[in-house]
Amino acid sequence: MTTKPELQTEGSFVAGLAAIALFIVLGAVFMGVSFPAPTGFGEGAAITKSLGAAMFDIAPGAIMGEGETAVPGEGFLVAFEVIDIVLVAALVGAVMLARREVAGESVTLGVETTDDDDMAVAADGGPGGDDS
């Protein structure tokens, strides 16, 4: 019978009451609001194509096919580029955070070490993990 370390995942549920209270307040507000009838997108609206056009700042009507109408929107090219950069930064950041230094040598995921005296605990298990 293997036993594995059990993570205690239950917390005190009293704090959850705050979330429930928030739901009650929000629900009370939203029940009382009345919106006018929603304007949909119309028949034959090419939503995806229009989305692409909005992202790249091109006129939606230029890429419509037969029987497709464009949906109005704004240009989001700058935001697109910025988010691109943010994603790259996040990736690099995540890798940096996950690095581990052993005897002056930086260890990243996927590199094996032969140091048995190493007491630093690695999240990736490490060589000869102490799982029983």
Binding site: G11, A15, A18, A19, A21, L22, V25, A28, V29, G32
Partner: protein, 698 residues
């Protein structure tokens, strides 16, 4: 006038000598003495010039330096007031100071004393402060110099500070006078608050009164009824007469302390611990005169209040008798002279209180001369006796120290009041004025004057007695110790001032021989003319500090009038003179019979318990110490507890609220992220609910 332009130099020259002695005294051959002598000599010459100018009818009342420039209702400034009274006092102070400086060459330098720059610096600062006090034209400046003079007294009494006695005596002198000065300060503030000015005499420019003086304002308030301008009367809720009496009595506190009147007289005998020239200058002729001079300066204000006059006269008469009885049993020569000083200032206060302005100023002048003479003579004896002051170790010095003996005798005759020496004329006039005003004034005030007169008269007998007891014990009979048989010779720097003062003591009475003037009708009462001024116009009109003005005030407000009970004026005058002369001679003869032989005995032992009481000065010192330790100290302890418990407690309490609150509230920072999130959510819920209710979302 040119003299008045140079008048500030009278005060500044001794101050410069103080600075020179302090900073360069070590390098000077006589430790700063020559600077002091030149400075006081220069001041003396300038004072003579000023006096001559004033004699020509010119006076001077000018503001030299104004400190507060932006406040319109209150002006604080330094200024000079040079009128006959201040010119006379300037002469006295400069002359005595000059002679004391020369005497100090013999007393201090020749005796090989150390620390001379400190001594001459102290003398210079004292002279400068006293002269500044004399010429002050407003009450605040007078107060400041009053305090400075007290400081210099402290410094000089405690000159030999390495012994036990002098520092303690200096402290006592300073504290006792300071106690009186506390009331003086309140009085000064009161006068400024009431009148908006502290000027003694009005300042006129081109015929227009530019600045009014407070005695004149007070006079207008009482005599003319102009009380609207004085807002203070409504604040204190008293009538003008009552409030002005309160102010006069407050200022009198400082006067009583400085002039060593009962009950603040205890410091003066202890002040004899200082060097004898210091005693001569400060505690005989000038500093103790400051109190009496102040009352004379403000006489236009004091004359408005019969209560204050009664208090002054009573204190004066009582002190005269009280101190004279204590002087009877003392064994040290300087102690006898100290009690004599207290007693004689009592006479001056008696004169001022009973409306004898001229008599007071006259006695002030003559007393300055003969008391300084007696102290310097005592100093000469002390040098000769190698600083042994006990009279019972002296004797037979008259053959060995002739100059000292004859000058001392002249001073003693003046002190006892034997005709034709100075003291007779002035003391007789004091008693005469008290007598006639006692009979002439109605009601309680007249009775007070007569009571004070009786006390003063009795003191004349005692004065004659103790003075000649002192003379006989010191100079006559056989020498009672080896030092007396072979005294140290004194030099010209001791004998010179003694001779000058001896001549003055004999002749100065002639400036105001009022009885002779009245008998023969000759105008030889020079002091009277000096202080009255011309009949019409002249300086009395400008300053209103003249005798006629005071006599009018005394007649109008407290109704102090003369009356001649024994027939006319002449007979009363002669009778009073005869009585006081007779008592003085009686005292002298009793002293002669008891102490004049070759080998006198301590006759005072026969008094028994009375002698113990007198030797202990009626236990006044013990009483004052008890007031400090038994009354003031417990009170101070209670106040301290209040301060530490309540005031500090409140402040500490406030800080403890903050500390306690902080220590509780910080526990919110538990470090557990979920808690933070919970609090965030709760806050959000509450905010939303609040906005929703206010905005009507529901």
């Amino acid at each position: 006038m040119a003299a008045f332009t140079y008048a500030p130099a009278i005060v500044l020259l001794p101050f410069v000598s103080f600075l020179v002695a302090l900073f360069a005294g070590d390098r000077m051959p006589k430790g700063g003495a020559l600077a002091g002598i030149t400075a006081t000599g220069g001041s003396l010459l300038l004072s003579i010039w000023v006096a001559l100018t004033v004699a020509g009818g010119e006076v001077h009342n000018e503001i030299l330096y104004q400190w507060t420039t932006s406040v319109e209702t209150l002006q604080l400034n330094f200024g000079l007031l040079l009128d006959p009274l201040s010119a006379l006092m300037l002469l006295i102070v400069c002359l005595i100071s000059f002679l004391v400086h020369i005497f100090s060459l013999g007393y201090m330098n020749d005796e090989g004393e150390t620390g001379l720059p400190r001594y001459y610096g102290g003398l210079g600062l004292f002279t400068a402060s006293m002269l500044g006090f004399v010429v002050a034209n407003n009450l605040l400046m007078a107060f400041m110099f009053f305090e400075l003079v007290g400081l210099c007294s402290y410094l000089l009494i405690g000159f030999w500070f390495r012994d036990d006695g002098p520092p303690s005596a200096a402290k006592k002198a300073f504290l006792v006078t300071r106690f009186g000065d506390y009331f003086f300060l309140i009085g000064v503030v009161g006068i400024f608050a009431t009148f908006g000015t502290g000027l003694f005499a009005p300042i006129t420019q081109g015929g227009e009164v530019v600045a009014e003086s407070f005695p004149m304002l007070a006079e207008h308030a009482i005599v003319d009824g102009e009380v609207e301008g004085i807002a203070m009367l409504e604040t204190v809720g008293m009538g003008p007469q009552q409030w002005f009496t309160v102010l006069s009595l407050l200022v009198l506190g400082g006067v009583v302390g400085k002039s060593a009147q009962f009950p603040l007289h205890t410091w003066l005998p202890d002040a004899m611990e200082g060097p004898t020239p210091v005693s001569a200058l400060i505690h005989a002729a000038t500093m103790v005169a400051a109190g009496v001079y102040l009352v004379a300066r403000m006489y236009g204000f004091y004359a408005l209040s019969p209560t204050a006059l009664a208090v002054i006269a009573l204190i004066g008469g009582f002190t005269a008798l009280f101190a004279a009885t204590m002087g009877l049993v003392k064994q040290e020569i300087k102690q006898v002279l100290a009690y004599s000083t207290i007693s004689q200032y009592g006479y001056m206060m008696l004169a001022l209180g009973s409306g004898g302005y001229i008599a007071a100023v006259f006695h002030l002048t003559t007393h300055a001369v003969f008391k300084a003479l007696l102290f310097l003579g005592a100093g000469s004896v002390i040098i000769a006796m190698h600083h042994n002051e006990n009279m019972w170790d002296m004797g037979g010095l008259k053959d060995r120290m002739p100059v000292t003996y004859w000058t001392f005798l002249a001073g003693s005759l003046a002190l006892a009041g034997i005709v034709p020496f100075a003291g007779f004329w002035s003391k007789d006039e004091v008693l005469y004025e008290a007598l006639i005003h006692g009979f002439g004034t109605e009601g309680g005030l007249g009775t007070v004057y007569l009571a004070a007169y009786a006390m003063g008269l009795l003191a004349v007998f005692f004065t004659g007695f103790y003075t000649f007891r002192m003379v006989y014990l010191t100079f006559h009979g056989d020498a009672r110790s080896d030092t007396a048989r072979d005294p140290e010779p004194v030099r010209w720097n001791v004998k010179g001032p003694l001779t000058v003062l001896g001549i003055l003591a004999t002749t100065i009475g002639f400036i105001n021989m009022a009885p002779v003037a009245k008998l023969t009708g000759a105008h030889i009462d020079f002091l009277h003319t000096w202080l009255s001024g011309p009949e019409e116009g002249g300086w009395p009109e400008l300053l209103s500090t003249d005798l006629h003005h005071y006599e009018e005030l005394l007649h109008e407000v407290p109704h102090v009038d003369p009356a001649y009970p024994l027939g006319g004026e002449i007979t009363t005058l002669l009778a009073s003179a005869a009585v006081s002369l007779g008592l003085a001679l009686a005292g002298v003869l009793v002293a002669r019979s008891l102490y004049a032989g070759a080998d006198p005995v301590e006759h005072t032992d026969k008094l028994g318990g009375l002698k113990t009481l007198l030797m202990h000065n009626y236990y006044q010192d013990e009483y004052q110490v008890w007031l400090a330790t038994g009354v003031t100290y417990p009170l101070a302890r209670v106040m301290n507890k209040f301060d530490q418990g309540v005031v500090d407690g409140v402040v500490n309490g406030i800080s403890s609220v903050s500390l306690f609150g902080g220590s509780r509230i910080r526990r919110i920072q538990s470090g557990v992220v979920s808690n933070y999130a919970t609090l965030l959510t709760l806050g959000l819920v509450l905010l939303l609910a609040a906005f929703g209710i206010m905005g009507g979302w529901f």
